[in-house]
Symmetry: D2
Subunit: 360 residues, 4 copies
């Protein structure tokens, strides 16, 4: 059972390497008669694409998506959507330095161990370039959610911590995230981070980050216990993103320190609607959505490609050193924000369709 597919009722499979001619995906299970064109997808790809500020890699990829199947006269037909993005800025540089050496923190050593062969150009298949296709699939998932639910759903992500520096949650402002290069919802923190990250960038170092993704308007009852719980699938979805090292739902790790009284969200009625007095659960109980905001956080490790020489070995078993001079992100967590949003949309769309199968 190979691993390049995600989802069941909304199911997509990606292909492509960092320095191949193109990347692409097939999305299967999309309901018919949804209006969809390339601009609907491009708008989200443009958020993710590299080279938009000095804080992300300078690789210039227009990331222009083409829909090559599954659409007729501007509507989905229920047949598989084929999406393709040509790779443009593939530098014909000399890769001899990383061709044989295993870069610490990268997948070089493990791909070699598993497959005995490795496309080292730009990290090959293990490159975060693949996440462009997650964003594309996420754009389609958003259309599915809107179509089936008739609107009312909002999925937004934010950077809530850069290195050790968190935000002031009291200052959270969703409108702020478009105004700084970090998707930071706290304008003041964003200001401080700019200086902080410039320092890191100039030394050729890197730093980690924490992303939070929130879905509003999710109907209650989505998720498939006991293994395909909504939180379990979100955990898998987020952990599958490059460089992610933790996933939290609602109170998350903090829940360990709470008492039962503090943790269990009480309920009241507001007319005929159940309202919770708090959201420690992050919108999920028993693996099913409660109707509250679904809240997921994940930590991204610092970019492993750094300027300082690091001890490593090569594929011939020789000890050596390596330092990375290429085009890289000092805080790869920034570009993980739209990817996290996309994965949230995908998991929700999948479970919405799955829910229809069993519960009508």
């Amino acid at each position: 059972m190979p691993g390049n597919t995600f989802g069941h009722s909304f199911r997509y499979t990606t292909w492509g390497e960092s320095h191949g001619p193109a990347i692409g995906c097939v999305i299967d299970g999309v309901p018919p008669r949804i209006s969809l064109n390339e601009a609907d997808i491009q708008i989200w790809l443009d958020k993710r694409k590299p080279g938009q500020s000095r804080f992300t890699t300078q690789r210039k990829e227009p990331d222009t998506v083409k829909i090559v199947s599954g659409i007729f006269e501007g509507q989905t037909t229920g047949t598989p959507l084929g999406l393709v993005i040509d790779n443009k800025d593939v530098r014909s540089k000399d890769y001899s330095d990383i061709a044989d050496k295993f870069r610490p923190g990268h997948a070089d050593m493990t791909y070699w161990a598993k497959y005995g062969i490795r496309d080292y150009r730009g990290g090959g298949r293990s490159s975060a370039r693949e996440t462009a296709m997650r964003v594309a699939a996420g754009a389609v998932a958003r259309k599915v959610l809107d179509h089936v639910l008739g609107g009312g759903i909002a999925i937004r992500g934010a950077l809530v911590q850069m290195g050790p520096h968190g935000i002031d949650r009291g200052a959270w402002d969703w409108t702020a995230i478009e105004d700084n290069p970090f998707w930071c919802p706290d304008a003041k923190a964003a200001k401080a981070w700019e200086k902080y990250l410039d320092g890191i960038r100039k030394t050729g170092s890197s730093i980690g980050a924490v992303i939070e993704v929130v879905a509003e308007g999710v109907p209650p009852g989505l998720g498939d216990p006991v293994y395909d719980k909504l939180d379990a699938d979100l955990a898998k979805a987020m952990m599958s993103i490059n460089a992610v090292k933790s996933v939290e739902i609602g109170a998350g790790l903090e829940a360990a320190s709470l008492s039962g009284e503090e943790n269990a969200d009480e309920m009241r009625m507001d007319g005929d609607k159940i309202v919770f007095q708090s959201n420690m659960a992050g919108g999920i109980l028993g693996g099913l959505s409660t109707g509250q905001d679904v809240v997921v956080r994940f930590a991204v490790k610092p970019t492993s490609s750094i300027l300082s020489p690091r001890q490593t070995v090569d594929r011939f078993g020789q000890e050596t050193e390596i330092s990375t001079k290429g085009r890289h992100d000092p805080c790869v967590g920034i570009r993980a924000v739209p990817v996290g949003e996309a994965m949230m949309a995908i998991v929700l769309a999948d479970h919405l369709l799955r829910h229809r199968a069993q519960c009508g």
Copy 2:
């Protein structure tokens, strides 16, 4: 696509409710000619079973497992293993209090929202009783790992935090975990926790915890990028356990605060073997095992069943209160330790078999 199945090449499906006649599972894909009998499974079930100390629920379940198919003359035949445990201590008490009310922190409200019907007796399908079958499947997974790898693998779990109280990692001693009722690897911390938890237990409150599971001896190259990465599947496996709210791999959430220099584990040679100078990665790079210890941590929220009356609503939309007097765990995280170990074994066994399919 229903959700009661986990794994692909090593695949199991569980059935049963907290207060039904029995619980069980089918395990498919087990290689043939592995020696297996009920005692091989019972030994792990005995670690999980309730009522072993005053810190776990007083429900008395012998949890005696029967193998009803898939074995011939003491060996697996390659056909599905059927496992059954009869429920014994099902109290015929009056459930009217929770029949209609939604207990805060429990799945009552969400199961109702999804299915419009709910077996409220002991939580029905949403009860942690289901985890007995995870432990049973985990025992079989351990046998598969040993059989295929010829031994050398060790999977162990420990409670590393209770409420706000962590352990001294310098004092970590695996032999200590059998000597206290918490699977705590720090004998001194265990002592302190005993007092702490007694206090919580007596007030009818509850507290969260953090569990760490470590797998030694995992060969490099296990995992299926880019969606079925080893860490992604571990995240799903652990998050699918009742009450889990976060999952971390290696440095986990802490990775957000690290620099690239601190985070990327350097490599040296030891003879013809690659050795890492640190294990921030938790034994996984690019979604594939590195050969180092695979390290997973997860936080368990406090038991939602507490004595203090809590505000809630019932299924008729009426506001009401509820307090739980039944048999419950003050720190449900304790019993999650063997469950986390089991899920680690299951994920590794599944990926070991999957690896054989593609890479021989």
Copy 3:
């Protein structure tokens, strides 16, 4: 990927061997709030169970089914249904004759080749005893179809050929099938077969048969092109039944000899309903149901267990002979009728739920 599971949205997994303590299955994905009790399943099991006439094996199995999970107060809860049937008439006879020899036409040699171990008692897992669980799952599938469609669906099977002797299709009478031991819709043919099969039975020989299963009331549009076409899934379902060697849809093999004019069913309107002038298609076009009767036929080979000594080899590579004196069916196709019906119901229920996922 092991193989003991069938279906996707309506998905079941069976376990158990011919001479183990029990057989069983888990059915996942059943919609909630369907009235279901053991009698609903037993009625179909009683049709399949052995020993009802002199033309089927004399093994006496009451085949009493127990529902051990997934039901609450007489209704499905949306959680997995666990079904169990205890094996009763397991004769403690000496199996030494078949323990080492490979019976021609049976799975003895191939199970040995695959697994290197084999539960030879009554054929172990390869026994048609497993089909009892197909019938049980089929009974649940019928309930799902009725629940979702609000009734109007009828799935019936018939024996249309025994050995070289076909029926007179002009004499087809569904009410006749309950009045003879063969499920034959042509009373006159049934009479003739009785004599014919008695002759075969007395010589210890056996003969093949053809079964036809018809589903009326199937709504148009079920099926998932291009690989999970309705006919493709029916072909898999029927071919997976023990001893089946061919599957036909509608005109089937005969379609090879037809001209385009003869084969393509013309359409007219009857009010606002499309009516076809013929049904060469067997109710399926492009892998999707047309709304006409879905018609499937399959051929069952003669029972391989016969009295005449046959040349074979044993697992030590020695040439030998074998003849079978046990309790067996002279025409195993008879008992395949309710199994074929069950598989039709299962495939339709699965595709009905899958259709809801994508098309609402």
Copy 4:
């Protein structure tokens, strides 16, 4: 669960419509380090491609395949293979005649019933154009079989019946199939068919056919009982090909008329190898390969697009007529030969990899 994916361990998904810009597929699970280039695939596509004789559609498609991912320096890397074929000969003709009318025997009516939208240009997704991607995936499957087994496997298909005219099996000659436009293994029959089919072609009619596919060199033990039996998966694979109406294994439908003595293939030893005295089983017992030739036959209905006007209805519920003047195959079964071969290769490759997972 959408339906455009086939296989589990060797798994591929196709996309594309008859008159879209391109068709393509993703193949996942391919073992690493297999030599593979475009010519390895092109050679099989060239066998299937249309317009090679007057007996197949005159649509001119070069069917030039591009490998866009999964290959590095001429070898597979274990990451997904992306394959693309551009559509070239897409005629910008007026489709108004079939835009609204449902062609008898085609999927027009059922796609409309399912999806409420339909890409009518050339049949859209329901066109046999999709089978080019099956042939491409089949070419890769052959490479996988050769790589894993070290060669020795041969998969060949032949047309064994055209309309009512069968071949003389005594005259079977595999070398003949390349010498006539029908893949007919009986040179004399081929000669007769030429005349016969010319007659049909000239009247604008069409005729059905039967194809037989034989795999030599299959090791014993492939298949996954009890639902993913080798024959069950072959039945699904073949029945999923456009226009197929029956699938037979070995003796097939004829098995119904056989006695137990005639049907069960006896075994003898040839050195340390088991040899069967006949192959009624078609190389499969209990759903597992025996080591004999795996033999599958399937019937293809006549092309539904014919010149004679046929009664039909349109999507507005009006009765009307239709006749097809486009470019079509008088006997679409001819071009199904390489497709059947491809599906055989795919099913065998999938089960070979699955077998490695469980049985090493």
